[in-house]
């Protein structure tokens, strides 16, 4: 036999993490029994790591120790949104999009935030990359193209929902970025077909929400929509007001959406 380990018959991910530039977990989800029991955790060859036999190690300790190992391997590597990078850590395959390279300032089209998919080391790297790229794109839509730490932290609610729409208990639910963003923003599937052509999802939603809810200050919202759209194309990144405007816009969208559509 050439390769001893066959890939898992049911493709599954072990964890999805959203990390900031320093490797702090902004949001994330571990699936199945990955890093749930202290006994199953493989020990590391790193000498300075605490021994895994330490009795009072909690699940959280295991996870943050895993994330630290992950971070030492991915820091300084920037992965294009459409070309996820791959590393192996602790006998797992980790695939990620986003991040900034060594020395680069966290500006430019993306942000410093990384989306990391962790899978068994027998899982296809291409498959994991496909999932990761899909989710990273969706995150970009939701964050108006501004996937930096603050933007993600301010919109955690959307990020939680995104992870939930993307993956259910380790089984991939949806990969298409437009559909994902649509589901998170509570849009019906049918409408998804012709949306997201260039402008950020949030921007369109802002306009739609404003109209549907008959909210005041329409001008303000279209301005926000415009800015976010630019952000998504990477033309006007780093503008502080975008984040601000978007935040307000989103609050309105959801308020607006809930009235006509909430049964």
């Amino acid at each position: 036999m050439v390769i001893s380990a066959l890939p898992p018959l049911l493709p599954r991910v072990d964890a999805i993490l959203i990390l900031d530039g320093e490797g702090n977990r902004l949001a994330g989800k571990y699936y199945g029994d990955f890093l749930t029991s202290t006994s199953s955790s493989p020990s590391t060859t790193d000498e300075e790591k605490e021994p895994s036999s330490k009795p009072n190690l909690t699940v959280e300790d295991l996870r943050s120790s895993f994330e630290r190992q992950l971070q030492t391997k991915i820091q300084g590597i920037a992965a294009r949104p459409d070309a996820a990078e791959v590393i192996t850590v602790n006998n797992k395959t980790a695939v990620f999009c986003g991040g900034t390279a060594h020395g680069a300032t966290p500006s430019g089209s993306g942000g410093d935030v990384r989306v990391v998919h962790v899978g068994p080391n027998t899982e296809s790297e291409l498959l994991l990359a496909y999932l990761c790229e899909g989710m990273y794109e969706a995150l970009g839509h939701l964050m108006g193209g501004q996937t930096d730490r603050n933007m993600v932290l301010d919109n955690l609610e959307l990020v939680f929902l995104l992870i939930d729409e993307h993956c259910d208990g380790g089984i991939i639910l949806e990969v298409d970025a437009n559909k994902l963003a649509g589901s998170v923003l509570l849009r019906d599937e049918e409408e998804n077909g012709d949306m997201m052509n260039g402008a950020g999802a949030g921007a369109e939603q802002a306009a739609a929400g404003g109209q549907a809810g008959g909210m005041p200050a329409m001008n303000g919202f279209s301005a926000a929509g415009f800015n976010i759209g630019m952000g998504a194309r990477g033309l006007q990144s780093g503008d502080i007001t975008i984040a601000q405007a978007f935040r307000q816009a989103k609050a309105q969208i959801i308020a607006g959406l809930s009235n006509p559509e909430g049964m």
Partner: protein
């Protein structure tokens, strides 16, 4: 500046504050007026979980009840958050509490909002049991074929989760097979993908159905979703693996069995699929096919070669990983990618670069080594230690392939010993060099010198002591032992106490083995008599005494000045030199085994009262445990985690083993037999699901065999009494001389009865067959109360035949040095035989010979060497036969004319044993 003023709602959250906020859930008016606020609080709660501030059980339950009230609100986004929250806390809450939301969820599941239906389904799957699944079956089944992809996917994915949770669930879900089948042709790609997975789960246990499934979908070409095709490729690969392992492959993948050729054809066609992901999956599946020939794999290699220059790191990474693995078995096929591999050495992803490098080391030819080494030295300085370790391991392997290159390769590795690097990197190099010294003896002298120079400036105590020990072991056997003394003595002068202790031990070994060096070494050793470290001082005192005593008895006489080389006698100690005996003769048994042997000694009846002196030869024989034999010195091939966590597994303490003979010792009637020689593992005499499950453990004694029958009663309205096993045999070797029945065996319990066999010493040991019949009295009982409902009546139950083979009298005991032991035993009792065996391949022949003889394979000869196709295999076996006769066997197995030819030589210190052992082969 505005950014500074604004605070994220999730920054610096305090658990208590959030819990306070969560009280809003109970205020129905506030919920109605401000659903946004509720959403934020839920998100904050989830964020708490996420940052490790877990709610305790009371807090979680409390909040959970609050959240259930939010079902009152019709706000869509709030409902979405509620679903999410229930899923997250379902695990931490009491399941009885969680169940109260089922009615709300069931309502949502049947409403007409797709979003609600999809999510309610997914939440329900987390909290219901199989009884409730039956209650909502109708809805889930409908949802599987729902027109909304979201709903359909949610139903399918939930079913996949539920399917694995309980067999009762599986029974329900299997009834939806036609709905699942229907959704595989959905327009929605994800629905196809999920339906495919569930369909496979449903059919998984039915090989024929799986083969039909693969055939159907591979020929119809209806799957649009690349993920679904990836799954289909995996199912096909699994099918082909099963086909091979169950021996139905026939004449290869292109022209063999119909399943095999259908499967291979499909995989091959997927190499031209439009999605990279599918193409890659097919290439990987083809490369992992067991017994694939070069022509089967070649199309996949061509594709992977193209992938090597992909702009996507994941594609290069995956392709590189497969090629690295294929290069172990088909280096020639991969060799045509060499140019692309060389280009990858500069890949920004260091894992890819390292794999490319190690693969090149396998596929490159002997004359490309020098060029490769140059590339490596440039490369090594810029990568992390874990990658360096992989490279060093590849270099070590390369040295086996091209022993002529050892000087260059070892020199190269030693250079890196002197460079910067962490402990594990240095340790790997040292271990590689030491392994090479043992495997390729030509490397010994130059390598030792390299290691000597390394310890001159080595910061790792463990490595220094290891190298010093090695110097003591093999330094004296080299052409000029004296040259190492200086290096060792420097350690005594300059190092910490552990290293000093190791250094004086090494010096003492030189003194013991080379009488000519004794006077000068004793002078050096004496300086350590005052060492401040107890261990070093004690060792030195002992060494000096022993060596000086030996010098007095056998004074060294230097050869005369004008002596010709022939006249100079070798510089070795005399036959009965005391220093050599004390310092060089090792223990006859490893410490680990000595410990186990002593434990057995202590536990066997009578021995503790015995006044006979305890010697090594009177200690019980202990067999090698499976852990000893599986010690892997195999070299990591860099596939999988580079420098992964592989060393960690060995640290676990071996589990305390229970002596299987303890049950026999506990029986007073059998105590007179003395100590068991060995006990077999239990042999089943029935199938595992019969009414009475019986297995037999054979305890071998010096002139008896005790058969311990373990009988399990699986009938709930029966109690068994007076259980025994009747044996019948034609042979003369054994005679039944005693029986100890099991008194009662209740339902669900296992009892043991014993049969004592006396072995006839005049008859040579050979395999004996026994027919077995279980005899017992049955008492009918009420299963619930245990009350008797009938009188006992006699009953018989036939068992499978039991065999006591010659191998049962052989203890699996390895020897430390097979070659030496083989010479020591000598050929006076040797038996040589030649057999033709009915095996199709060497692998099964080797394992069968090992089993037939019941001996322990040593020197790693128990399995075939990789890449040795066609060459005969040498098998070295060792064991101790009943009576304490150590027995050795050398066997050569080779393929000849479609069968296996076995030539075997057996030696023992007893004249009759080799014949009995050789006759085991049949």
């Amino acid at each position: 500046d505005e950014e500074e003023v604004y605070y994220s709602p999730y920054a610096n959250l305090e658990k208590s504050a959030v819990l306070q906020e969560a009280r809003i859930f109970h205020d129905s008016q506030a919920v109605r007026e401000n659903p946004r606020k509720c959403c934020t609080v839920i998100a904050q709660l989830l964020h708490l979980q996420n940052t490790g501030q877990f709610l305790n059980s009371t807090e979680a339950t409390d909040v959970f009840f609050g959240v259930t009230k939010l079902f009152m609100s019709d706000d869509a986004s709030l409902r979405r958050m509620v679903y999410l929250f229930i899923k997250e806390v379902a695990e931490t809450c009491n399941p009885d509490d969680v169940i109260i939301v089922t009615s709300s969820l069931t309502k949502d599941m049947t409403c007409d909002v797709d979003l609600y239906r999809a999510n309610a389904l997914r939440v329900l799957a987390r909290i219901i049991d199989s009884a409730m699944l039956g209650a909502i079956e109708r809805y889930v089944k409908q949802a599987v074929v729902d027109s909304s992809g979201q709903v359909s996917s949610a139903a399918l994915v939930s079913s996949i989760h539920l399917f694995g949770q309980a067999s009762e669930n599986a029974v329900v879900i299997k009834r939806w097979i036609s709905e699942v089948q229907e959704s595989t042709s959905s327009n929605n790609e994800m629905v196809q993908f999920h339906a495919m997975q569930l369909l496979y789960k449903i059919k998984q246990s039915d090989r024929l159905a799986i083969s039909k499934l693969v055939q159907q979908f591979s020929s119809r070409n209806t799957l649009k979703s690349p993920l679904a095709v990836v799954c289909l490729v995996r199912y096909t690969a699994q099918l082909l693996h099963d086909e091979v392992s169950e021996g139905r492959l026939g004449d290869g993948y292109q022209g063999g069995s119909s399943v095999a050729s259908m499967g291979y054809k499909f995989l091959e066609s997927c190499l031209r699929h439009k999605s990279d992901m599918v193409m890659y999956e097919a290439a990987r599946a083809i490369c992992s096919l067991p017994r694939a020939e070069a022509q089967d794999i070649n199309p996949a290699i061509i594709l992977l070669q193209q992938f090597l220059s992909s702009s996507k790191p994941a594609t290069r990474f995956g392709s590189m990983k497969i090629l690295a693995a294929v290069s172990n078995t088909h280096p020639r096929l991969v060799a045509k990618c060499n140019e692309d591999l060389e280009a990858l050495i500069s890949d920004p992803n260091r894992f890819i670069a390292t794999l490319a490098m190690t693969t090149l080391l396998k596929t490159g030819s002997e004359n490309s080594i020098d060029r490769l080494l140059k590339q490596i030295s440039a490369f090594l300085s810029e990568i992390a230690d874990e990658y360096k370790i992989t490279i060093v391991k590849s270099l070590q392997r390369l040295c086996y392939t091209y022993p002529a290159k050892h000087r260059v390769l070892v020199g190269f590795m030693s250079n890196f010993l002197r460079e910067e690097g962490g402990f594990s990197f240095k340790k790997t190099i040292v271990n590689s060099i030491i392994t090479l010294i043992k495997a390729v003896p030509e490397t010994a002298e130059s390598s030792l010198m390299q290691l000597c120079e390394f310890i001159e400036d080595c910061e790792f105590t463990m490595l220094s002591t290891q190298i010093l020990h090695l110097l003591g072991e093999i330094g004296p056997t080299t052409s000029a032992p004296a040259r190492y003394i200086r290096f060792i003595y420097n350690r005594v002068m300059l190092e910490n106490s552990s290293v000093r202790a190791a250094a004086v031990s090494a010096l003492a070994k030189f003194a013991a083995s080379c009488p000519s060096l004794r006077p000068s070494i004793v002078t050096l050793l004496k300086r350590s008599l005052e060492d401040e470290d107890d261990e070093t001082r004690d060792r030195t005192t002992m060494y000096v005494t022993v060596v000086e005593e030996a010098m007095e008895k056998f004074p060294y006489v230097p050869p005369a000045e004008d002596a010709t080389p022939e006249e100079i006698r070798p510089d070795v100690p005399e036959e009965d030199d005391t220093a050599a005996f004390v310092l060089l003769g090792g223990m006859p048994i490893s410490f680990d085994k000595l410990q186990r042997s002593l434990q057995v000694y202590q536990s066997s009846p009578g021995t503790m009262e015995s006044t006979a002196p305890m010697t090594f030869s009177s200690l019980p024989v202990v067999e090698d445990s499976p852990e000893d034999t599986s010690s892997n010195d195999a070299v990591d091939d860099g596939f999988g985690d580079v420098g992964g966590a592989d060393d960690g597994a060995v640290n676990g303490e071996p589990a305390e083993k229970v002596d299987p003979a303890a049950a026999v010792y506990a029986i007073p009637e059998l105590a007179g037999l003395g100590r068991t020689f060995r006990s077999s593992s239990p042999v089943p005499l029935t199938e595992t699901e019969t009414e009475y499950v019986v297995s037999c453990t054979k305890h071998i004694f010096e002139s008896h065999v005790v058969l311990q029958f373990n009988v399990q009663n699986t009938i709930d309205d029966q109690r068994l009494e007076n259980v025994s096993v009747m044996l019948e045999s034609d042979g003369e070797l054994f005679e039944v001389t005693g029986e100890i029945p099991a008194e009662t065996i209740k339902y669900g319990e296992t009892g043991s009865c014993f049969t004592l066999l006396q072995r006839n010493d005049g008859v040579p040991i050979e395999t004996s067959e026994f027919t077995c019949m279980l005899h017992f009295n049955v008492v009918q009982v009420d299963p619930s109360t245990g009350e008797e409902e009938s009188d006992a009546f006699e009953e018989e139950y036939p068992l499978e035949d039991l065999e006591i083979s010659t191998a049962d009298f052989m203890a699996k005991v390895s020897v430390l040095d097979f070659r030496k032991s083989w010479e020591t035993v000598g050929n006076s009792n040797e038996v040589l035989e030649k057999y033709a065996l009915q095996f199709k391949d060497l692998e099964s022949a080797v394992s069968s010979v090992i089993n037939l003889l019941g001996m322990q394979p040593v020197d790693g000869t128990g399995s075939l060497k990789p890449n040795s196709e066609g060459k005969p295999h040498m098998l070295h076996l060792s064991g101790v036969f009943i009576g304490g006769h150590s027995t050795l066997a050398r066997a050569q197995l080779g393929m000849q004319g479609g069968g296996v030819v076995l030539k075997i030589a057996v030696r023992s210190d007893d004249e009759s044993v080799p014949r009995m052992v050789a006759d085991c082969i049949r």
